[in-house]
């Protein structure tokens, strides 16, 4: 059924700034097809900036971001999205004045070769509680539902890669668990995901690999399982 052609996201030597603040320092990593990767680190470590630098919402001062071999650097954000990178921002940023259906319509993009084509019906299958409220305005939704809608809206763009920025933030544990199931389902169907997270428990459930950044520098890049055997890294940067 759903199938994703293999694409690779690659960051090399990315430096990003916010005003004068140097946020990302020579950051480099890649995401292979079918992988769910967690981007971990303290608040202010540069996780969100990494995601925004991929989307070109923050324009990296140097370095390169490529997707499927094509450079994304300095492309307008909408072109990045058109290439198949789906972005779910941390604030969810749903259109509260629009209905759920209309929110999904904004995300809709034409079908993409070799990529599963999402429709509203299929999205509603994945998020049944959105289906029954499809004509409600976004502002009537609870935080968990807004998060679901934000993901669903991005899926409507038939992404080849999903960027999730702190999806579990401020969401009830029971909903976070549901979301984990959703992500695992997408993963099982081959959609690669880059997940910026603070919730280690959640990240561990859904992802294979962890990248830890601190002060904009990469401190760790490897399998989640191996992190367990490196307590000094885990304690120094994540400290649970």
């Amino acid at each position: 059924m759903r199938q994703w052609v293999m694409f690779v996201l690659e960051l090399t030597g990315v430096n990003s700034f916010y005003g004068k603040a140097h946020i990302l320092r020579d950051l480099g990593f890649s995401i292979q097809a079918g992988e769910v990767v967690s981007l971990l680190g303290r608040n202010g470590a540069g996780k969100t900036t990494t995601v925004k630098s991929i989307m070109q919402l923050v324009s990296p001062a140097s370095g390169e971001v490529t997707f499927d071999g094509q450079s994304l650097t300095h492309l307008p954000t909408h072109r990045v999205a058109k290439l198949g990178i789906g972005y779910v921002p941390e604030e969810r940023r749903i259109f509260t004045d629009l209905t759920i259906s209309e929110n999904l319509e904004v995300g809709r993009q034409p079908p993409r070769d070799g990529v599963f084509e999402w429709t509203q019906d299929i999205v509603f299958e994945l998020f049944p509680n959105l289906a029954e409220r499809r004509n409600n305005r976004g502002k009537a939704l609870s935080g968990g539902e807004q998060q679901m809608l934000s993901i669903a809206r991005t899926l409507m763009g038939n992404p080849r890669l999903l960027l999730l920025d702190e999806p579990s933030e401020g969401i009830a544990p029971v909903i976070v668990e549901q979301m984990a199931q959703t992500i695992l389902k997408l993963k099982s169907e081959g959609l690669p995901v880059l997940l910026s997270e603070q919730n280690l428990h959640f990240a561990k459930i859904v992802s294979d690999r962890a990248i830890i950044i601190e002060g904009g520098l990469k401190k760790y890049d490897g399998a989640f399982a191996e992190l367990e055997s490196q307590p000094e890294i885990r304690d120094a940067y994540l400290s649970v």
Binding site: A21, G41, R42, N43, G44, A45, S142, G143, G144, E145, E166, S168, E169, G170, I171, A172, P173, V174, I175, V176, E177, Q178, A180, Q198, N199, L200, H201, F202, I205, L238, S239, V240
Partner: protein, 269 residues
């Protein structure tokens, strides 16, 4: 409804009786009762949209309840404006920080002190010379003395949260209301902030009511936990009671896979 004994309202720092709020036909909060004792850290948890924020806003006066009353130290403060509630001795921090971006760190504190000392309408310069020592000691309390002269706009997030805590302590409140105090923070920062809060609570013998989604924080620091679902209080008890409450697990906690599976006692030590 729960194990709490309905004592005389004047003994509690905060006593909430039959609090309800409806918007149009929708019941956001229905008949909520609870009390907070001196020195208590009370957590309010529940799914999004359960009515936590509505509850908070009614306590602080941003919303007036459809029904019910709120007593602070035995005084009925129902429907009082936020600034009046504040003058009665309630401090508040926000989920999304509400600091004054155009001021320095210490000026943020001084502003609250100016308000506390009722000097708001003075037009004599310079505000920045007023109550500096008092402000400095508050900054020391939250460990931010070194950042006193930095612009608030360039503070790191965790520091903003600490600054907000210091602001909330300016008028030596009896009660602190904290709305998702650790939202958006990394695990270590969360623990540190709540530890700081707990220490201050103990030192000043304050009471705290906070909402929180991070169960690690709740289970590590709360003395008592209330669970709100669809506007109703469905549980109110000790951390252990809440953890194992079947209803709470169903509507809120889930299988427990996304937070630490046992109380981490040593974090507080």
């Amino acid at each position: 409804m729960n194990g709490e004994v309905a004592t005389d309202i004047s003994n509690a720092v905060l006593a909430v009786q039959g609090l309800s709020k409806s918007f149009g036909g929708i019941h956001a909060v229905t008949d909520v009762h609870f009390q907070i004792a001196k020195g208590e850290l009370l957590a309010m948890i529940g799914p999004n949209g359960a009515g936590k924020t509505t509850c908070f806003n009614m306590l602080m006066g941003q919303l007036s309840p459809t029904n019910g009353s709120v007593f602070l130290m035995g005084e009925n403060i129902t429907g009082m404006k936020p600034r009046k509630v504040w003058r009665k001795g309630v401090g508040r921090t926000f989920q999304i920080t509400g600091t004054y971006q155009s001021m320095t760190v210490i000026e943020n504190i001084q502003m609250a002190l100016i308000s506390h000392h009722r000097k708001l309408y003075s037009i004599r310069p310079y505000a920045t010379r007023l109550y500096r020592e008092e402000a400095m000691s508050l900054l020391e309390l939250v460990g931010m003395a070194e950042q006193a002269e930095r612009a608030c706009a360039i503070l790191a997030y965790g520091d903003l949260k600490r600054l907000e805590l210091a602001i909330a302590l300016c008028h030596q409140p009896q009660l602190l209301l904290m709305d998702e105090p650790t939202a958006g923070m990394a695990p270590r920062e969360r623990i540190a902030l709540m530890q700081l809060t707990a220490d201050i609570v103990q030192e000043k013998n304050l009471s705290v009511l906070f909402t929180e989604h991070d169960m690690d924080v709740v289970f590590a620091h709360a003395h008592r936990v209330m669970v709100l679902n669809r506007g109703q209080l469905i549980a109110n008890g000790s951390v252990e009671q809440i953890r194992h409450d079947a209803t709470v697990r169903e509507v809120y906690l889930g299988g427990g896979s996304v937070f630490a599976d046992e109380t981490v006692g040593d974090v507080r030590a």
